[in-house]
Symmetry: D2
């Protein structure tokens, strides 16, 4: 086989591999599906999950987002407050109206985030085998934009990995795989993880924010490849953690760059939730709760700054 | 009385008037309170409200926010999608990672919004008698920033004013006052509005978006002054509507510029929720429901783009 | 030849074609060159051009840039004015300092612009055969950023195409090629166009701004492919016009998408200047003048909003 | 005199003092004037200044502006580069067009700046006695916006204060007043400073950027109050320095907060130029030169990022 033929053959093989990946990216819910496993969050699921509310205590899972929040470079975020039309202390009308308004500049991927299905792809092919060139427009995604995320009200589960591993924070590079997940479930008495559930890992990593931002950003404990495949096999709707990227960094041996993201988002239609603060839930020894999330519906946005409400 | 003395006397009278307003602005919940009537959303309140979930159907109340959303000038909002580090189709690593990221530029007050207590004041004095100069910093409010909004999980009530008034949309300038609110409650069988409730008006006004943005923005039916005082007397935590500003515009006779905003926010510590899409709730003949809201916790932000989840 | 071999052969041919283009992109000024024909603007050139100042009249060639400026979608630009730290009319210090500050949000490519050499490429290869993946970083170009543009002080020539063609504005789609350029020169008594000159076309097209923005944006008279090659052969440092894109739109038959941009910028290292307002120069019957330009040195910027000063 | 009367009397005195200041703010060039001493830059002035070009060497006086540029908090600036419509390496048309575009977010007051007359006021009264409430609109100044700055082409003078004071950089807090200015002129053989001139101080302070940003930002040598009054008496059009704020910081004893800014801008209609890099001019022993400046004409902008061109 001469060189030209050999290069061509490799190209064909690559194309075949590409096809295999394409097959993996198909949604179980049909060619028009944009919400993946959130299809499992049926009214029955929501109703059943609502029974987890036994005390009425509500928790904010979002952390604050601001100029100082450590973020994946060059992401940043700023709010600027101003008083339009009120120069020199001017007020408006007989009741002397004063008001503040605010400007935002920055990137959605700062602080507590939901990664939509347009965030992560495999060779420019995204969930449900959608090609980036077809939907990733500069003025916003025409598929998978955050406005498509449904109302999420389902069962939430927090797995206390810090408690399990007796380390707080758990060391960066520590992977959570099937055995770890099952051990945490057993320790907490969580009988099963089911279709449409939201699973959150507690690692203590988030406490580094403001104390050691550099360390925070340069690694994290988190979900491993086998663990991601396991959770995907159970049909969860979303997976999150109290860390900037959910998945273990440095990546496991022989695992690609953010391949856990690819497995969850691109191959399985599972949202990723980052910087989810579950400390108070863990302190209160809550394992299962009612999880609600309505991300701001910015049309075509790739990600959302979020603040889910957990209720026990 | 000579001129100098007369001017001084007027200044004193003004100061007295100012004190009267100051007295009104005090929080019932103490000098350090930043959340006003949301203090009424106790675990007991949340637990009771959760019993309203009988079908498990979840509704998104947020509309989409984008370049085309009509907004109070000069507010606007844009999302821009880009592919950092992927020039010329470059992918990352052995699993060919591709990703989209997004930049936001604009104003928080676009689309579905929560008005925090730092939004509206009376002569530069805000809720709980806080002076703007003390907390309205250019880099963010140091009190009343959106990060202070608690986890909201409480009873929601939608009042179908369009059905009551047999007009859809209701004409701009139509005020909803005590009698109207009570008539709507009676018509729907809502027995009472209670402390910590969230009350939303359905007017049909929101359907003008995209059809007649100019009319949409230049007026609206909505809450009148007496109606605001009535709801405040009942201790509601938040009031909203399917319109850009909740309150009736043009303003009622002898009512100040956005005085309903002042009554709710500055004098009573009640959040205002704007552009709340309750159409599907009304179609489903839902009057009472479980209302959850976790606004993105942008530190120091005046307002938030929101998407509350209503569950029946 | 089987399919695999044929595909491979095509790939090889494409690579060869790529090499040909690559050869065209090489700078005459060496592998490290980032400023192209501006190398011709030597002190001797500047000194000679300064002798064109005979009256001392200075002209602004920049138009205004703001929220209303028609621009290539989705580009826009806004300035927002605020008064940091001066809530409620507060002033600073014994001399009661007040101040305004301003925020910018938008895209550099709005209004009067300089297109740097990082703006336009050919199959992701840019001027001096630089590959986009090597220098087009998300945080700014690492080559060809606007900060690299030298101090430009040289001879400027305005060619009154509207006068020549007796049409104002000249109709969109009208191409200026070698014969037109020479006719304009002859009509105005311009003896030659030389190395390091800046050539500006006057078409009257810019007068449509604010009158018919839609027409303004959807086409333009301008430089044709042969005209671009002609000017490049003369060694000009920059070419501009009183239109949004300099080159004729719709493109000439058999000419690529913005191929004139490619010829000037990518193959010849010639800056493009857009929305250059030369009306007053033409009214004053000025053909040659001293041209100075110092674009704001935003590191890594692709383009610059500019306002060159022409002096007669 | 009782308290009320005493307070009233003080208010009256303050009003009188205010009137005195108001008188100072009037422009010599009439009630409609927006450009102050730049009125002195007549064609005769420009023509005469152009004779200073004897070598043809052109200098950029602007420094770079980017994410790392030290700036007055909370000012910052960012450029973000993206490739619209080119996802997955897509090119446009038969000639495979590729292009980069760029987004800006930030504040105009970063890096090399021109302070317009809308930047600095005295108790909310600005140059030519314009009241902020009348022209400082949130969408841009309606007077004194940067679009009003005329084409500036005049005589530039650089005074080597570092050489005079034998210190590089000169220590923060060192004031330049009349005697210092005259000593520098004498040392360099500058016979006079005249109407319409631009005067720049060289202090070496700018070399701290990137080396000691904290020190750079927390003080500076610079123009004192008497020195500002002296330059104003000579009718200069603009004054600048190689420092972030031109004027000496800490302020001189009994001098108000940025009072030198007030004297130059508010009382005398003199532009201030900041972060002007004159090091190369000083190295080349240039004292007088042709100065040209065309700031980007952002409508209603308070300040401009600039890059004047000096030519010897």
């Amino acid at each position: 086989m001469n060189n030209v033929t050999r290069i061509a053959a490799i190209a064909v093989l690559a194309a075949v591999a590409g096809s295999a990946i394409a097959a993996d990216c198909k949604s179980k819910f049909g060619p028009d599906d944009q919400i993946g496993n959130s299809n499992y969050i049926t009214p029955e699921k929501t109703l059943a999950a609502s029974k987890l509310i036994t005390k009425g205590k509500a928790y904010r899972l979002g952390i604050e987002t601001n100029r100082g929040t450590p973020a994946y470079p060059p992401r940043n975020y700023s709010v600027t407050v101003l008083q339009p039309g009120q120069v020199a202390g001017t007020t408006l009308g007989p009741t002397k109206l004063s008001y503040n308004d605010d400007i935002v500049m920055g990137w959605n991927g700062v602080g507590s985030q939901l990664d939509g299905f347009g965030h992560i792809g495999w060779d420019n092919v995204y969930f449900n085998c959608q090609k980036a060139a077809d939907f990733a427009k500069v003025t916003g995604l025409t598929k998978f934009g955050i406005e498509t995320v449904p109302a999420i009200a389902t069962r939430g589960i927090v797995l206390d990995m810090a408690g399990l591993m007796n380390a707080n924070p758990i060391k960066e590079g520590t992977a959570f795989n099937k055995a770890d997940i099952e051990a945490a479930m057993k320790r907490q008495g969580v009988k099963s993880i089911e279709k449409g559930d939201v699973v959150l890992f507690y690692t203590g990593w988030i406490d580094l924010i403001g104390k050691d931002d550099k360390r925070y950003n340069s690694g994290e404990p988190g979900l491993g490849k086998e663990g991601a495949q396991y959770l995907a096999s159970l049909g969860v709707a979303a997976v999150g953690a109290d860390s900037w990227g959910l998945e273990v960094v440095p990546f496991e041996k022989d695992v690609g760059v953010f391949e856990v993201h690819q497995i969850l988002i691109q191959q399985n239609g599972i949202y990723i939730l980052e910087n989810m603060n579950t400390e108070e839930l863990v302190k209160d020894k809550v394992s299962e709760f009612f999880f609600t999330l309505g991300p701001s519906r910015l049309t075509g946005a790739v990600q959302a700054v979020i603040n889910p409400i957990a209720i026990k």
